[in-house]
Amino acid sequence: MSSSQAVPATHLREPDPYKLGRAPYHGGSGHGHGEPPGHGAGGPASKRVIVGYGFWIFLLSDIVMFSGFFAAHAVLQDATAGGPSGKDLFDLSRVAIETGLLLASSFTCGMAAVATEARSHLWTQVFLLVTGLLGLGFLIMEAQEFAAMIAEGAGPQRSAFLSSFFAVVGCHGLHVTAGLLWLGTMMAQIFVKGFRPNILRRLLCFNLFWHALDIIWVALFTIVYLIGAGA
């Protein structure tokens, strides 16, 4: 009663919070040592934790998939086949604006999460709407960039470098598009169903997804655009 019940509230002040020096677990012998032997072994976690963790695993596998596109781009960066290189094509001020839009949308998405924690319908919807508009602005700028490049004959079929460029940046753009569809769905679901536990879990996953997109964009603007334009 005394020691085991106090663990959740005070685990940050424990001398061994990671339970590295855990006592041997006498399973099922009825000893009742009380102390759970380690993370996850004290009983099943709540559904919110399990859903969030599972989605985190999905996001990491998505990032692993992106790493393949990044590797292809890094290998094919100089394979321009006599066509235009990154130095000729990339407009870094446009990339800076795109970066700002996506970073701001990541921030407003976090604000929506804070508003959800406070159970404020109005502010959650407002911040989700701002997030969506910023994301839409990002997508429009990217589409304009792609259209301009294709119009001047630098489409994906021009060289291996451009194929890999359109693959990696386009894949990120597709993710943003899917995220926008998801965001619209979430806004409608909050409007119709309110803050039910399952809706809250979906919102948590959407937040993770949107922040992960911004992480991929950080790698993208650095490796593809900044290094590509300078090299």
Partner: protein, 129 residues
């Protein structure tokens, strides 16, 4: 954070993206993250645009800045921390980083050596004659 989400702490684990603080602290965390991310982004674009770093060192500086910014995003936006309730999340992240490093680093390494060792196409054609 209200009481009905705090029951997570009973199991000793926390989902990624869950912060568990007041509104004020939550907004503050996101603001700090935004400020640091803006600073690092500005530093990246400035480094690429101006010649204040020795030319061949620019890609290295950019990669370092990007890794720092990804760390900021993970800590302040995704709330992946080193706290005991985050061990599972951090372990999954570590595995993801390992795979990404193997795929990207291995590809660049192997393909660089291949390009280096490959005979130029002209010479190859001449030998076949």
């Amino acid at each position: 954070m209200s009481a009905d989400t705090n029951h997570d702490s009973e199991s000793g684990d926390v989902a990624p993206g869950v912060e568990g603080t007041s509104i004020r602290a939550g907004v503050q965390g996101y603001l700090i993250g935004l400020g640091l991310a803006v600073l690092l982004t500005a530093a990246s674009f400035y480094t690429a645009g101006s010649g204040w770093i020795w030319g061949p060192g620019i890609p290295v500086a950019l990669v370092v800045l990007a890794i720092a910014q990804i760390g900021v995003h993970l800590a302040f936006f995704l709330h992946i921390t080193t706290a005991p309730d985050n061990t599972n999340n951090v372990l999954a992240l570590a595995f993801g980083v390992l795979i990404v490093a193997l795929v990207v680093g291995g590809s660049i390494w192997i393909m660089g050596h291949l390009n280096h060792n490959m005979m130029p196409m002209q010479e190859m054609l001449q030998m076949q004659r």
